[in-house]
């Protein structure tokens, strides 16, 4: 097996392990929390 393929395999194992752990504990950097400043600084219709 080429070194680059081995490294890619390890990379995928790392990603899958991180994803599995995050899923197991329900963690996400995309979770809601607090009052968004930049995405919802304005309320009301955006129609022009």
């Amino acid at each position: 097996m080429r070194l680059s393929t081995l490294l890619y395999l390890l990379w995928c194992v790392l990603i899958v392990a991180a994803f599995g752990t995050a899923t197991r504990y329900g963690w996400s950097p995309y979770a809601s929390g607090g009052r968004p400043v930049f995405t919802r600084g304005f309320v009301g219709p955006h129609h022009k």
């Binding site: 097996m1 080429r2 680059s4 393929t5 890619y8 395999l9 990379w11 995928c12 990603i15 899958v16 991180a18 994803f19 599995g20 995050a22 899923t23 197991r24 504990y25 329900g26 963690w27 996400s28 950097p29 995309y30 979770a31 809601s32 929390g33 607090g34 009052r35 968004p36 919802r40 309320v43 009301g44 219709p45 955006h46 129609h47 022009k48």
Partner: protein
């Protein structure tokens, strides 16, 4: 071929030099290595067929040199130089009493080993042909004429300077299919591109230097990325399969409670404890709020999931909104009356879900277009439904993991594609 042909020692009738026919019995014509006269190898007297070539030269690989190459021991017995009118190249005729003939093609910085086929390609569709279930694409739109400019040694056909054939080439990564035709016959040859230095090492000649404008990644050689693309693709497929399985196994498990409340537009903010939530293990909590009767109104909801024991609070914010109106393009509407918030990694415990709720009515006209006047009474209450689920997974995690897994194969696929494009351009030059 079942028996090794004997080497036959003869005298050139033109110059009197001793000559050897190495594939006696198979060789048809012979060009004297001393004077360049083409002789009839079938005639016992070696009758001259063509006069000596004026500018006689010696091939880089001396005729008679033996070498192990691609699983066979070969002897260089003939040498021919050809040109398409612009680019010259050389071909050595190799002979093995057990394997037959091969062509060692010297194209300057690249060598290839050619085998004349005893069959035609299996099928041909448009500009593609198939040989041994492998597809070859047309290398260039135009055929070209290859003309012999120099020849020495022995051959199994009557080769002569000036001989021409029409050549059509098909290519795939690392190999060429060459169809050569003249008025009498048509032959197909498969040429395998040799690794850099492979032919030079086999025949003991100095290795060719790379051309100045050429990188080590010769586009005419097989794509160095193709093999890895398959193995990386397989690894990526397994990894994505795990992501899908993991996401499926973490689908929302249970609705914890369901509550209904109301809000009055433009009334002071009110705080309500919506209910109690019990979390058994660290997991995400999804809070969904829905207000179906919004009419150019919006509701701000600040949720707080407060741990009864520690008073630690997990906060999130949602807006439920719906607007509609008319402008020069006609009627429009926007906003979602459903707001979903997702809290991550909520630890086990007893929680109170507290909501600060404030409802607002948008003005009937303003800088963002003309809104339809609300049909609702100014003091009418807006019903809100809230429900809480535990479990589930985050789609953002899935897409991020997918992106990270596919990033490197994508780079590899791009390099492979770029290599193939350069190969096409190199053939068409």
């Amino acid at each position: 071929m079942t028996s090794a042909p004997a080497v036959k020692a003869l005298i050139c009738p033109n110059c009197g030099a001793p000559v050897e026919i190495r594939a006696a019995g198979y060789t048809v014509s012979f060009v004297c290595g001393h004077c360049g006269t083409t002789l009839d190898a079938i005639d016992p007297e070696l009758k001259p067929i063509a006069a000596a070539q004026k500018a006689f030269k010696k091939p880089e690989i001396a005729l008679g040199t033996r070498a192990m190459l691609r699983g066979g021991e070969w002897e260089a017995i003939g040498y021919v130089e050809r040109t398409d009118g612009e680019t010259p190249w050389a071909e050595y005729l190799l002979f093995s009493p057990y394997l037959g003939y091969r062509f060692l093609v010297d194209a300057g910085s690249r060598w290839s080993l050619g085998t004349v086929l005893d069959r035609v390609p299996e099928r041909r569709v448009g500009d593609r042909v198939w040989l041994d279930r492998k597809s070859y694409g047309r290398a260039s739109e135009e055929n070209y004429v290859a003309r012999v400019t120099f020849v020495v040694g022995e051959f199994y056909w009557r080769v002569a300077v000036g001989e021409t054939v029409r050549v059509t080439e098909f290519e795939r990564s690392g190999a060429l299919l060459s169809c050569e035709a003249n008025d009498a016959e048509r032959t197909w040859t498969r040429l395998d591109i040799l690794k850099p230095g492979e032919a030079e090492a086999a025949f003991g000649i100095p290795p060719r230097e790379e051309e100045e404008d050429d990188d080590s990644d010769d586009p005419l050689r097989p794509s160095p990325y193709a093999g890895r693309l398959w193995s990386w693709g397989a690894i990526a497929l397994f990894a994505i399969g795990f992501l899908v399985l993991s996401t499926w196994s973490a689908r929302p498990k249970q609705q914890l409670f369901f509550a209904q409340l109301s809000a009055i537009p433009d009334a002071p903010e009110k705080t309500a404890v919506l209910g109690q939530v019990t979390i058994d293990q660290t997991e995400p909590v999804t809070i969904t709020g829905s207000a179906d009767n919004l009419d150019n109104e919006w509701i701000d909801v600040d949720y707080s999931l407060v741990n009864r024991k520690t008073q630690e609070s997990y906060d999130a914010y949602a807006t439920l909104e719906h607007y509609h109106g008319t402008d020069s393009d006609g009627a429009w509407q926007e906003g979602s009356p459903v707001g979903i918030v997702k809290l991550s990694s909520v630890p086990p415990g007893q929680y109170d879900l507290v909501a600060d709720i404030s409802a607002h009515r948008w003005a009937a006209s303003g800088p963002y277009g003309n809104l339809s006047a609300s049909a609702q009474d100014a003091t009418a209450t807006l019903p809100i439904t809230v429900w809480v689920d535990r479990g589930g997974s985050f789609s953002g995690n899935f897409w991020t993991a997918l992106l990270l897994i596919l990033a490197w194969p994508s780079v590899l696929a791009y390099l492979h594609y770029a290599h193939e494009k350069r190969r096409q351009l190199a053939y068409n030059r």
